[in-house]
């Protein structure tokens, strides 16, 4: 078990280090996220009450788009110089490789979210700090869902032509339950309401989604990578 954790840690640290040195995915997806946030302001009047009603949806669309860019790079980064083959041939288990990569994407995604939230709050006049704990919980749970599903499909599509198109096409429908729950929760949270009653069903859905897909992913990743 400690071996697994150490391997996971090494893969994650490697991914994050190489990403922080080049910042290619991070820069691209951050600027993309900001551009989308800007574009939404033209789609409707950003100061109206309408914003409050759709704020959760907006935010998660931005995160989902930005996430796809990060996840695209997750395995594609290993393609030059046959690094992927080297990783598969190394004594690191498939599950550890997957978990490490998913965690690395998770951290990057969390960083993007941390930057986008204040920008969103300023541009759309939303006071997003009213329920910080619930907001953090929803962000953590839903981002993990995005990271897990995205990493598996990143591995699945890595050798394909049209990789950049295939990944979002396969990942978004798969993520809909997760994104829907996150949107339904984020809107009242941003409005300052506590999560209770009917809303708890969405939290359960998020947790269930995370557990099911993490388990599926860990079981299937060896099949995806090696065959």
């Amino acid at each position: 078990m400690t071996r697994f954790l150490r391997q996971t840690w090494i893969v994650m640290a490697k991914d994050l280090r190489s990403e922080l040195r080049t910042k290619e995915a991070l820069n691209a997806s951050l600027s993309f996220a900001l551009v989308i946030l800007l574009l939404f302001s033209f789609a409707f009047n950003p100061t109206s009450d309408l914003t409050r009603e759709i704020s959760g949806g907006l935010l998660w669309l931005v995160f989902a788009f930005a996430g796809a860019l990060i996840l695209n790079r997750s395995f594609a980064r290993e393609l030059p110089n046959d690094c992927l083959d080297a990783l598969i041939a190394s004594p690191v288990s498939g599950a550890a490789l997957f978990t490490g990569k998913a965690l690395a994407s998770y951290v990057l995604l969390a960083a993007i979210e941390a930057v986008c939230l204040p920008v969103f709050g300023v541009f759309y006049n939303v006071r997003w700090t009213q329920q910080p704990l619930w907001l953090a919980l929803v962000l953590l749970l839903a981002s993990w869902g995005i990271a897990v599903v995205g990493t598996v499909f990143s591995a699945l599509t890595v050798n394909m032509r049209l990789r950049e198109l295939m990944l979002p096409m396969l990942v978004y429908p798969m993520l809909i339950p997760c994104l829907m729950a996150a949107m339904q929760l984020t809107t009242p949270i941003l409005a300052g309401e506590p999560v209770q009653g009917d809303l708890m069903a969405w939290v359960r859905l998020l947790i269930g989604f995370d557990i099911i897909f993490t388990a599926l992913a860990v079981v299937l990743i060896d099949t995806v990578l090696v065959g």
Binding site: L170, P173, I176, L216
Partner: protein
């Protein structure tokens, strides 16, 4: 199985469906609240059952492929999924036409409808995924994994009317809203020929897929001569 038996089976299914159509239009009284339109249920529900059955079969076939690495199961999986998608589309469209009369709108973003649409899109994604990979064993392996992931939505579609408050009618075959026995007999009576039809379509598609595979192999052999 020879193709003649398949076509005969298809013919029997067509005759049964024709007879059912006649009976449901002339023999069965209109439902009290919905009028004539309720008869769509005799296609809507069996199409959904057939669709889910196909998706379940494709899950089993996908897992079997991963266990055995026999490409035959991959061919079966793609045939089953395609036919499942056709029946899924029939289910969605017939439901929309029913909704236009009963709810006054074509579509509502209700859990049942939405999850069924997601499910359909995921399996359509499976077909697109297949078309993007050239190498047969890699295609079979990755698309089998995709089948396993896709199936995770199916129970969600199935139970969504129990778990959430939806506009979609509650189940008609069990529980409180059970239908009258004459209607139920017609529902099962129409499901049988639809299942036969599905079986014929799957078999034809499977034979095609197998021939296509042999052809590809032969062409490679000829090129390498």
């Amino acid at each position: 199985m020879s193709e003649k038996i398949l076509y005969a089976l298809g013919g029997v299914a067509a005759i049964l469906l024709g007879r059912n159509l006649l009976v449901m239009l002339t023999g069965l009284p209109d439902e009290a609240f919905q009028g004539a339109i309720f008869r769509i249920i005799f296609f809507h529900v069996p199409a959904a059952f057939t669709c889910f059955l196909c998706f379940f079969a494709s899950l089993v076939l996908g897992i079997t492929y991963l266990k055995t690495k026999n490409l035959r199961y991959d061919s079966m999986a793609v045939s089953v999924t395609e036919v499942g998608l056709a029946f899924g589309a029939a289910n969605l469209i017939s439901g929309m036409i029913w909704a236009r009369i009963i709810w006054g709108i074509w579509w509502t973003w209700d859990w049942r409808l939405t999850s069924m649409l997601i499910c359909w899109l995921l399996y359509a994604g499976y077909l697109v995924l297949r078309s993007a990979i050239e190498e047969p064993t890699e295609r079979a392996r990755l698309s089998s994994v995709m089948l396993i992931f896709s199936f995770s939505v199916v129970p969600f579609v199935f139970f969504s009317i129990k778990w959430f408050r939806t506009q979609h009618p509650q189940p008609v075959l069990y529980g409180e809203g059970k239908m009258d026995s004459a209607y139920r007999a017609m529902l099962y009576g129409n499901w049988l020929p639809l299942l036969m039809l599905a079986f014929v379509l799957i078999s034809v598609r499977y034979l095609q897929e197998r021939r296509q595979r042999e052809l590809d192999a032969m062409r490679r052999a000829v090129h390498s001569l």
